[in-house]
């Protein structure tokens, strides 16, 4: 009989790892809390750095799931799990009980709730929106306008909202928002060539292949402006435009600037699902509240519980490319484990090596 794997979370990581596990010959069940596969990817029109359509990637992932005959359970919620002989028994809502030899957790991330960063005015001023809301407009083909329907003359992008911020309790970098801001700036310019775009950043983290090229393109071809300084606060002007307060640190002076629309680049936070599933499965969380992998270099997919593995951004912010790679790595780690390779003993030896 084939060994069974249950994958929790039908986003990019869950889909791609399911496809690979199925291809390796396991009987795979994929649990998704909504009625659609694809996760956050469903909400993004174009992807950095190539500007290809997000739905093309969704199609690719779907094909893998279908070809592998993965058993997808939609609207699934895990009520509890038990450890049984060499595996797990998982009880879902609607009383389905699943048995599995290994579990892969791919519960992903949520976006930071920008209304908590009150000083940026989201939820208070109409013309402050989040990067996700802007993307939704792109997705739906809506016109980019201010709240009263005017074409914005100037748009500001605020980097690091809810990331790299001790005050909100998220000290990590979310990795994707710098380049997303660049991507969205370019799209704004495509839609509204007359509109000026300003990005307010602390550091521009263009580490991925072609990110730097996109950054350069945004300046060269589209005339996007970059201001090195982190916003302290935003207020509303009489006409509803937004007055941002920032220091232009390179000029060495505080600066006030009015923008007609302010876009907050919201960062990653561990998803609600990550928190819930982690509690049910007794998984360890790291300092940043994402799941803790057993080793930062060598055991990136391995959890503290034997037989449970991680993939995707439930262990920390990742780009789509990174997530897909990570999903495949998790599939192969699980294959190792299920064929009797003692992955936990490897933890022991690598620990010893590290201390020697």
């Amino acid at each position: 009989m084939n060994k069974k794997v249950v994958v929790i979370g039908g986003g990019i990581a869950g889909m791609e790892s399911s496809a690979h596990l199925a291809a390796l010959g396991y009987e795979v069940t994929l649990l998704e809390k909504t009625d659609k596969l694809g996760g956050h990817l469903l909400n993004w029109e174009k992807l950095f750095p190539t500007m290809r359509m997000g739905k093309e990637v969704v199609t690719f992932l779907n094909e893998g799931v279908e070809k592998g005959k993965v058993n997808v359970i939609y609207n699934a919620e895990i009520l509890n799990t038990k450890e049984i002989m060499n595996g797990f028994s998982i009880t879902l809502n609607n009383n389905i009980v699943l048995e599995s030899d290994a579990i892969l957790v791919t519960t992903g991330y949520d976006l930071f709730d920008a209304s908590k960063k009150e000083e940026y005015g989201f939820g208070i001023y109409d013309n402050v929106i989040t990067s996700a809301e802007l993307e939704e407009k792109f997705m739906k083909g809506e016109k980019i306008t201010t709240s009263d329907g005017k074409i914005p003359k100037r748009i500001g992008f605020v980097h690091c909202v809810g990331s790299r911020d001790e005050k909100v309790g998220n000290t990590y970098c979310s990795k994707v928002c710098c380049v997303t801001a660049v991507k969205q700036s370019i799209e704004i310019k495509e839609h509204l060539p007359e509109t000026d775009v300003y990005c307010f950043y602390m550091d521009l983290r263009m580490y991925g292949m072609h990110f730097e090229a996109l950054y350069r393109e945004s300046q060269e071809k589209w005339g996007v402006n970059f201001v090195r300084g982190r916003l302290s606060e935003a207020c509303e002007n009489m006409d509803g435009s937004i007055l941002v307060k920032v220091e232009d640190t390179l000029a060495g002076k505080p600066m006030k600037m009015s923008v007609d629309l302010l876009v907050l680049m919201v960062g990653f936070e561990p998803s609600l699902g990550t928190k819930k599933v982690g509690k049910i499965l007794n998984l360890q969380f790291g300092v940043n509240r994402f799941f803790k992998t057993q080793d930062q270099h060598t055991l990136t997919n391995v959890s503290n519980v034997k037989g449970i593995f991680f993939a995707g951004s439930c262990t920390g912010p990742k780009t789509i490319t990174n997530t897909i790679t990570d999903a495949r790595a998790a599939a192969s780690t699980i294959a190792n484990y299920l064929s009797g390779h003692d992955i936990h003993n490897r933890i022991m030896t690598s620990d010893i090596k590290a201390t020697v």
């Binding site: 009150e118 005015g121 909100v168 309790g169 606060e233 009489m238």
Partner: protein
């Protein structure tokens, strides 16, 4: 003459004690201003003296305030102080009745049972023997508790007990010995002369059955006298100085001498009146959340007393006032703390010449958001919405950025710098002709109310909003939200405003009560009073507080201070809102007339 050499340690100790204590008191009295001195003189011959005596009885002997905070600790203090006091009084009566003399040697009543063996000559002798034994037993229970507390303070519900200095050690250990030695001395004497009652007599019988009581009892009287002598001599150098000092303090306060912002004679007396009971340590969140047991008044006042205050101790305090609220001696702890910070503060003059010329608008009401409120714009946004709705004629004084109220500087001992800011703001406020000054920041509130001398009403927005509601200028919708309200330190303990915010909430929502409310409210950890705490430490405090406040799963955690809101927002899964937001959100949407917002009005003009 009734005398024995063993009374000498006691007698000499007592004389030294009297000498030092009167020397100290004399010094203090001399240092008072002439006004205070005349107050004191007047009080000596007025009913104030009677009031003071009553308070001395309640606080110095019965320790009523300690009782209220911690009954076990209260009993311990009371049995020692009141019990000992009664022993002395009853002992004196007994000896007077017996000797027929008004004046006896000071040692005579104390060692009465050594000198007097023939009870039959004393009127009511059985009654006295019984009473004295009962009182001794009473005091002994206190001693046992005190010893117990030193080693096991948790029994008293206290997480900590104070650390000792050398003078304290002498005094403390001799105090521990005084009554057990008296007990043994009297019991052994009783074994020989049968002078004891139910307590010392019985014990004497038992001891006498296996000890050569007649040979040894004399040495116990020596030991008892020595313990007393050591205690008396070390008293002025130990925390027990609080015993005489507290009496004087109560009298001085009743005479109308009030604390000032400077460290003065009254502060010095207060410092000496602290018995280091440790209540402040237990109430302090730096201890309970951060395990910092260095900075609390029990220690800080000791450092002040011995002139060894360190900057990091003086400044590492949130000035939250929890200790002051519960201090049984009623010491103005925040005053002393801030006054001592001045020793370290670098205070300049002429710093803010850059402030622009005043731009003043005429209005009935001034709204001053405060520096911090600019970082919680939903509060100022709500306030302008409310003021517009209620059609108040107001001037948003710091709409384009505040000139700080001066309080943060004052909290750090920089009075001169603060004075400059105060001067600047005051000029503008008075020029506007407003009758009411409303602020959203409790930290500002205090300084505007107490230091500015504006001569107009200074209100926190929670008070003002309640007034608007009462005057029917605001119509609010009922909600079924369960709201727990957090009292900001500066608004509650600082300004005594507990009821207005509650009434405001109660009128339209369900107010949920919490153990940590009103006087017992916790500090959010955001305090401007502390410049030492790290961000992580503040987070721990905020987290602990949120946990306490949201224990009943309310729908909203309400507060009335921008700083509290900021501290809680990222720590709470329950929505955190300022009281102004709650009011703004429930403004009745069915207002017949369209509200013309200030914004529109200005745009039209």
């Amino acid at each position: 003459m009734i005398f024995d050499p063993f009374v000498l340690p006691f007698t000499i100790g007592l004389l030294i004690l009297f000498f030092i204590v009167f020397y100290k008191f004399g010094g203090w009295i001399r240092k008072f201003s002439s006004e205070d001195k005349s107050n004191l003189k007047k009080a000596l011959f007025s009913k104030n003296l009677f009031v003071a005596c009553k308070e001395i009885f309640y606080e110095s002997l019965l320790h009523r305030k300690i009782f209220r905070v911690n009954p076990k600790l209260g009993y311990m203090h009371m049995s020692l102080a009141f019990g000992w006091f009664l022993l002395i009084v009853v002992g004196n009566i007994e000896t007077r009745i017996h000797s027929g003399r008004e004046i006896n040697g000071p040692f005579y009543p104390i060692f009465f049972k050594f000198f007097e063996h023939n009870r039959s000559t004393i009127p009511f002798s059985n009654f006295f023997v019984f009473l004295m034994d009962l009182l001794l037993l009473f005091v002994m229970t206190g001693v046992v508790l005190a010893i117990f507390k030193r080693f096991y303070s948790k029994f008293f519900g206290m997480k900590s007990t104070t650390k000792l200095k050398i003078g304290d050690k002498f005094a403390l250990y001799s105090l521990w010995f005084i009554f057990p030695l008296r007990y043994l001395a009297e019991s052994l004497s009783s074994a020989v002369y049968n002078t004891g009652g139910f307590f010392t007599g019985t014990t004497g019988d038992i001891l006498g059955s296996f000890l050569p009581a007649a040979d040894i009892y004399y040495y116990f009287w020596w030991a008892y006298s020595l313990a007393l002598g050591v205690f008396f001599v070390s008293l002025p150098f130990s925390r027990y100085m609080h015993i005489p000092t507290e009496v004087v303090l109560i009298f001085i306060r009743n005479a109308g001498v009030v604390a000032s912002k400077q460290y003065n004679t009254l502060s010095e007396i207060e410092v000496n009146a602290c018995p280091r009971c440790g209540i402040c340590i237990d109430k302090c969140q730096l201890n309970t959340s951060l395990d910092n047991k260095k900075i609390q008044p029990a220690y800080f006042l000791r450092d002040v007393r011995f002139n060894q205050v360190k900057e990091e101790i003086a400044t590492d305090c949130m000035l939250c006032g929890r200790c002051e609220e519960y201090c049984p001696v009623g010491i103005k702890l925040n005053n002393i703390r801030v006054a001592k910070r001045k020793d370290f503060a670098v205070d300049y003059i002429d710093n803010y010449k850059y402030l622009p010329p005043d731009e003043v608008a005429k209005a009935d009401v001034i709204y001053f958001a405060g520096c911090m409120t600019h970082l919680t714009p939903s509060i100022k946004h709500s306030m302008t919405k409310i003021l517009d709705t209620a059609k108040v004629s107001y001037w948003f004084m710091d709409e384009d950025g505040s000139v700080c109220c001066g309080r943060p500087l004052m909290m750090n001992g920089k009075d001169k710098m603060a004075a400059e800011l105060i001067e600047n703001n005051k000029r503008k406020i008075l020029a506007s002709g407003a009758k009411i000054f409303v602020t959203s920041c409790p930290i500002c509130l205090k300084v505007f109310g107490e230091e500015y001398n504006l001569g107009i009403r200074v209100m926190h927005h929670s008070q003002y909003l309640l007034q608007l509601v009462k005057e029917n200028k605001l119509k609010l919708n009922l909600t079924d939200n369960n709201i727990v309200y957090h009292d900001p330190c500066e608004l509650g303990r600082g300004a005594g405003i507990y009821e207005e915010p509650r009434e405001l909430i109660k009128r339209f929502n369900n107010l949920v009560s919490n153990e940590f409310e009103k006087e017992n409210a916790l500090c959010c950890g955001g305090s401007l009073g502390n410049t030492k705490m790290s961000h992580d430490q503040r987070n721990i405090i905020a987290k602990d507080v949120v946990l306490q406040l949201t224990s009943d799963n309310p729908d909203i955690l309400a507060t009335a201070c921008p700083l509290c809101k900021k501290s809680f927002t990222y720590k709470s899964s329950v929505k955190v809102m300022d009281i102004a937001e709650i009011v703004a959100n429930s403004i009745s949407q069915t207002e017949p007339e369209k509200i013309i917002s200030r914004k529109e009005a200005l745009m039209n003009a």
